[in-house]
């Protein structure tokens, strides 16, 4: 069955403040957990692969930025290096014609707060005098289980809107993963998209290179928007998005080294350190469980019974005492939390180990900070229920009862 292909939101590009490395994480569909490279990092990878990119320098101070601008030669574009969409509209991208305005732009952008992210570096880049803006990309079509290469002459704008309003404006070429993208396929896609014959061969060759890069570097997604066509008939990648499959980082040491501490919620950073899948939400019933589907279901039930989930926390399989302790620490340290429901259905995870962990974690407190409701099922659940210290926790036998109890505790805390 053929399915429509979709894009992440907010893809824009261009030197007139429309450029944006939209690694925002919002509306991200059909991708595996991925590590998002900054624009400057992706362009470095492109350049190493022989894909043309504008001259650029990364700067972290105003002086560096001005010096870089003068070295490159005006006009230049100064671009905030943060992973969020719509940088241009938010004031994170300026095109400047001289040293004075370069200084002003760098002063304004460096240190600014861009959609909640602190800007501590800018990319100073030669502005490209373009006549045309294209879009090219490579990603995995999950529904087909195949890589797909994409080309459009509607670059420089929000490509997702193009995909929604005029799906035919984006040409998709599915790739046989055993052979890779044949050069003829790249040419076919480019010609079918209606790219001018003068630049079609160069565009196709860039698309082929991007596919190779995508495959060699274990990318989940590569996009260039816009791919600019200059008056001289050159084709150049003015923006670069490259996301790497986290499951493949073990064989991509150079890319792994580019990974930075994710800016964001303090608790989410802590979860990262502990190796939990954690998402902070706005409610007051804390949730700990094992397995994404079951934890999501627990959230849904909290909502169903009139409560509000404070978080998603998956401790994973085979959770030992230390992980249990860490999970409780995390949820307790969220000041919004008024009660906690701990829901474990053991397959690999053993109920007795979880119970020991819960006792250990709670015995350290003179007073339990927030009421904890525990429900254990599956492997060694009965042993676990016997081990649990009922002075410290409330034990419930079913998921529904456990959730309702936790919700009522949370409500009670607010009365």
């Amino acid at each position: 069955m053929k399915k429509a292909f979709r894009y992440r939101d907010g893809r824009t590009g261009g030197v007139e403040g429309r450029s944006g490395n939209t690694n925002s994480g919002s509306a991200e569909v059909r991708t595996q957990p991925s590590m998002k490279l900054h624009e400057y990092q992706a362009k470095g990878v492109f350049a190493d692969a022989g894909i043309p990119v504008p001259d650029s320098v990364l700067a972290s101070t105003v002086e560096e930025a001005v010096e870089a601008a003068e070295d490159i030669g005006f006009p230049v574009v100064i671009k905030a290096q943060v992973q969020v969409g719509g940088r241009g509209k938010a004031g994170g991208i300026e095109i400047v014609e001289d040293g004075e305005s370069a200084r002003e732009a760098a002063e304004a952008i460096l240190g600014m707060d861009l959609k909640g992210l602190h800007v501590d570096r800018v990319l100073v880049e030669a502005a490209v005098d373009f006549t045309n803006e294209l879009y090219v990309g490579v990603t995995m079509d999950r529904g087909e289980g195949k890589p797909v290469a994409m080309v459009s002459t509607r670059g420089g704008v929000n490509i997702e809107e193009v995909a929604a309003e005029e799906p035919g404006a984006i040409v998709r070429e599915h790739v046989d993963a055993a052979f890779g993208l044949h050069p003829y396929q790249a040419r076919k896609a480019v010609f079918d998209a209606g790219v001018d014959q003068d630049v079609a061969i160069d565009t196709a060759s860039i698309l082929t290179q991007l596919y190779e890069l995508w495959a060699e570097r274990d990318a989940t997604e590569i996009e260039v928007n816009p791919l600019m066509v200059t008056a001289d008939g050159e084709v150049i990648a003015a923006d670069a998005v490259m996301n790497i499959d986290e499951d493949a980082l073990f064989r991509q040491p150079e890319l792994e080294a580019m990974e930075e501490e994710a800016a964001g919620d303090e608790l989410e950073a802590k979860a990262n350190e502990y190796g939990f899948d954690y998402v902070r939400l706005s409610g007051n019933t804390g949730i700990i469980g094992n397995g994404a589907g079951l934890v999501m279901t627990t959230l849904d039930l909290v909502d169903y019974y009139g409560g509000a989930p404070a978080n998603f926390l998956d401790i994973g399989g085979g959770a030992k005492a230390e992980r249990v302790t860490n999970a409780l620490d995390m949820v307790f340290s969220d000041e919004n939390v008024d009660s906690v429901v701990f829901n474990i259905f053991g397959g690999i995870t053993r109920g007795d180990e979880v119970a020991k962990g819960i006792n250990e974690a709670l015995e350290r407190f003179e007073e339990i900070p927030k009421p904890v409701v525990v429900r254990l099922a599956g492997t060694n659940a009965e042993e676990g229920m016997e081990i649990l210290n009922t002075d410290l926790v409330t034990v419930e036998k079913t998921l529904e009862d456990a959730v309702q109890r936790a919700v009522s505790y949370a409500e009670g805390a607010n009365q």
């Binding site: 069955m1 399915k3 979709r6 939101d9 994480g25 919002s26 509306a27 991200e28 569909v29 059909r30 991708t31 595996q32 957990p33 995995m140 999950r142 529904g143 289980g145 195949k146 890589p147 997702e160 929604a164 046989d176 993963a177 055993a178 495959a215 274990d218 989940t220 499959d245 499951d247 493949a248 899948d277 998402v279 939400l281 469980g289 094992n290 397995g291 994404a292 589907g293 079951l294 934890v295 999501m296 279901t297 959230l299 849904d300 039930l301 909290v302 909502d303 169903y304 989930p309 998603f312 998956d314 259905f345 397959g347 690999i348 099922a377 599956g378 492997t379 079913t398 998921l399 529904e400």
Partner: protein
């Protein structure tokens, strides 16, 4: 009857000498699974839990008539193990391994299309035909023999729903955990098709979650091709858009597709009742029987 696994299933465990492989081989055998061989390169001639180990899957198939493989091989080597299994005579491959690189899976998936082999997973709990055999890591004690088929993207959620069924005396023909990765072998439609053809399966439970479009496709298939009644459950109704919750598949797009609402609506349109709670799913199933 059952799907995929029956009394003739003879299992080779790839990666049997590793911690997980060894532990779950013992568990599978304790449940009654006929584990006839292990396959680990360089370990031929050894034995694990009394099971002879061979250097290759082909050898295990040749010497022990293995016709199904369970894969516990670490992610970096999993694709190679899967290619080996797909090239061998086994006709069912269950990949438990979590974290297989996406591009590796794209190549495996490409090869899979050239074979008649059923691949379950990767990143899945496996499958079980209660009272007969389990291939994978599911806790056998919560299942019971019966006439309900179950297919799910999530491991522990499967256990929860099965528990709700079993506690009411509703047993299962076969339960299949297909895994939550972006690229998997057997999907909802494949599993539903098998259950539809199975004469013993009188009702089916399908547990999906937010992200992707597999549930919507399954709904279309049920509407067009299934006479066996299906009850559904969708996890992730309260997940905020744009947040990834665990599984790669469990991502809600901001654009209105892949959401719990769209999946529930598609299933309802196909005549599939969707429970608000796992227990309500069991209510629906009870109503079917």
């Amino acid at each position: 009857m059952s799907v995929l696994v029956d009394t003739d299933t003879r299992v080779v465990v790839q990666g049997i000498t590793g911690g997980e492989g060894k532990f779950h081989t013992a568990q599978m055998m304790e449940y009654g699974t006929n584990v006839v061989a292990g396959a680990v390169p360089g370990r031929g001639g050894q034995d694990v839990e009394g099971v002879p180990v061979y250097d290759t899957v082909h050898e295990a198939a040749r010497e022990e008539d293995a016709n199904a493989s369970v894969v516990f091989v670490p992610p970096a080597f999993a694709a190679d193990a899967l290619f080996e299994a797909l090239d061998s005579p086994v006709d069912l491959v269950v990949a438990i391994t979590e974290g297989v690189p996406q591009q590796d899976m794209a190549r495996v998936y490409r090869r899979l299309g050239e074979t008649d082999t059923h691949l379950i997973g990767p990143n899945c709990p496996g499958l079980i035909t209660p009272g007969v055999a389990k291939l994978g890591i599911l806790p056998g004690n919560i299942f019971a023999e019966g006439n309900v088929g179950l297919v799910s993207r999530s491991g522990t959620l499967t256990y929860q729903v099965v528990d709700n069924l079993t506690k009411r005396g509703i047993g299962q023909t076969t339960a299949v955990g297909i895994g939550g990765d972006p690229i998997i072998g057997t999907d909802f439609v494949d599993a539903l098709e098998l259950f539809e053809r199975d004469s013993e399966t009188d009702a089916v439970v399908m547990c999906g979650e937010i992200g992707g479009e597999d549930e919507e496709e399954a709904a279309a298939f049920i509407g067009e091709h299934m006479d066996t009644p299906v009850a559904g459950f969708i996890a992730g109704r309260t997940a905020p858009p744009g947040k990834r919750m665990g599984h790669a598949g469990a991502i809600v797009s901001g654009s209105g597709t892949g959401t719990a609402e769209s999946k529930i609506a598609a299933l309802n349109d196909a005549g599939v009742p969707v429970g608000d709670t796992p227990n309500e799913v069991a209510d629906h199933v009870e109503g079917f029987l």
